[in-house]
Symmetry: C2
């Protein structure tokens, strides 16, 4: 029997909460960080190591996968889980964000968004029902309604128009999902409204009216800055149902994440651990390290003595050498260590919330990340 | 107590033999294939997987390591084994071959070879005693005498001059090794002589006169072609002591290797499994596969159903996708599968020699590698 999608909060500490999202492919402990598996791979990592790092769920990108190898092809090959040998939950985005950031000749209309593939120039139209169809073909456990990620900055009027379109698309996405999805799958709505508190409130209430098993906050981490992001989040989360998971899309640094957890966010995704890993930037319990720096050339201390990750046991000197020499193993080891650091961060956050010490934990991490290498 | 370097032949089948090289860091089962770890990493592979694939020994490149991160630095950091977390034997080349293929403004004299680093243009002189010093600083278990890899083609007169220089360097290398090496380490001499049988014989005898615990055949696989390589080998191996390991440098394809084993060669190294792996070329028990080919886009069969390698269990369709998308995971998986294929090839060769069926085994592999994708 298919296990129904559900969410339960186990403990709260202020607005921060820890709980479990139950899915047909396993439990997701929240607050959760989802490593990004853009093209059916978490970049430079064996999928076994993504699980060993502690990830309960990964994210796949609809835009990339629909263009290559194609959603119909992945379905024919048995779905995304089987294709990439990952049997835990997968969340897919709707494709809307990456159409806007990667595709050429984009044109948004009521119908959807038309664009040219960045790979071969092919003309593609992504409509709300196609976005859901693609996610169903991939076999995503958690799917996202198609939205327009309102560009930043946007005037109030522009944000209103964009938001209203996203809300109509959310409704169409839900109808498509109800027609096409498999038992146990879930569709999340996405709150927009740029940095305008009343628009965010309006969006949250509209989505709750439509009714989703989870709600995402979109349109942040798009250049508005840390303070504006937190303020917008403050104006949004109080209007999201308490008994449903809340997902802040595309965020972020360790402190961004903890500050959002403090406001009641449950789920995160970001390319930061893997992208930084490919460029020799390490996240550790001692703060951020740029392994290219000459200071590490003869540093025999392990990358992160506090981490349990096998990759973090290599010396900084060795990793410095690999990064300087452009060796793939450097990307492999630092990506693995970073993904595991993010998972350990979430695990410690969950423990702190359960123990009622979350504020102290945030201050502890703030001190660890106060060094000179910690500017993003 | 340090274990002495030794070699024992366990079984012979024609000229092919199987045995064990015992070193202070463990046994090397022969015939052995050594994956190449140029810059203190077997490219795109975790070192644990190199061991899991079955490798008893890896090769490190003196030229690369002396330039970056530097031999003195590696020594200061505890030696190459500890630096890269590989505790089994390491063989290092002398650097001579790569000076000729990579460095700029090379100038060979009686003293040694002067060149400009390909990294930063620094002026470096590699003399026989410095080549040994570098290998001792790295902590290599098996070291190679500095030689000039005679370019191909070379006239008989050129080959003679080059060979004589290499023989004088071999003598100086041995003297340096005796002065500098640690207990348990071994130095091999390298036979040169281009494609001239009498020069090869002369070189082999000269080296035996100097006396080494192992002998390499150098100056092959440099453009002379498969037949000339085999003929030169036939003119060389009979003059190499039977009770010492014989190492054919830089070879080669699966069939090159088996044909050399048939002539009595015990050790091999080649970048082919890893370099091919990074370019989507797979070696399997069904022959060579170019994973970029569109024919694999929907091929759900595992890369190599006959291989025990975890990486070879992924579908060809998935690997095709990763390779086409330029994903690092594609390089990781195909490199792992290739390195393990080469190890499985050597394991089957050892079993066949012990069982007296080596000729049949070579014919079996020849049939497997007769397909259209098997041209190098």
């Amino acid at each position: 029997m298919t296990r129904a999608f559900s969410f339960s909060v186990k403990a709260q500490d202020g607005a921060a909460r820890t709980g479990v999202i139950a899915t047909q492919r396993g439990d997701i402990r929240t607050p959760a960080f989802m490593p990004v598996g853009t093209q059916a791979t978490v970049k430079a990592m064996f999928v076994e190591d993504v699980a060993a790092a502690g990830a309960d769920i990964i994210l796949g990108n609809t835009y990339h996968l629909m263009l290559r190898p194609g959603a119909e092809r992945i379905a024919k090959l048995g779905g995304l889980h089987s294709f990439m040998h990952w049997d835990k939950p997968i969340l897919t985005d709707s494709g809307g964000y990456q159409v806007m950031s990667l595709a050429k000749l984009r044109k948004i209309s009521e119908e959807g968004v038309a664009f040219q593939s960045h790979l071969d120039g092919a003309r593609v139209v992504l409509r709300p029902n196609r976005a859901i169809e693609v996610q169903c073909l991939l076999g995503a456990d958690i799917q996202m309604a198609l939205d327009e990620c309102t560009p930043f900055p946007a005037s109030r009027a522009e944000a209103r128009v964009s938001l209203d379109l996203s809300m109509r698309w959310a409704e169409r996405s839900k109808a498509a999902f109800e027609a096409m999805s498999a038992p146990g799958q879930a569709l999340f709505g996405i709150v927009q409204g740029s940095v305008y508190p009343d628009l965010r409130e309006d969006s949250a209430k509209t989505l709750e009216g439509i009714g989703f098993p989870g709600y995402a906050v979109g349109g942040l981490a798009v250049g508005e800055g840390h303070e504006a992001m937190l303020q917008t989040l403050e104006a949004t989360t109080p209007f999201l149902p308490e008994d449903k998971p809340r997902y802040l899309m595309g965020v972020g640094t360790p402190l961004d994440i903890l500050e959002a957890v403090a406001q009641g966010i449950d789920m995160f995704d970001c390319v930061m651990p893997t992208r930084s890993g490919r460029h020799g930037q390490a996240f550790t319990w001692g703060g951020r390290l740029n392994l290219r720096n000459a200071q590490y050339a003869e540093d025999l201390s392990p990358l992160d003595p506090e981490s349990a990750c096998p990759a973090a046991q290599y010396s900084r000197a060795y990793l410095h050498h690999l990064v300087k020499a452009g060796e793939i193993l450097g990307a492999m080891l630092v990506s693995y260590a970073n993904v595991q650091f993010y998972q350990e961060l979430m695990a410690r956050a969950r423990t702190a919330i359960a123990g009622g010490t979350f504020a102290d934990f945030v201050e502890d991490v703030r001190r660890r990340y106060a060094g000179p290498e910690n500017t993003a």
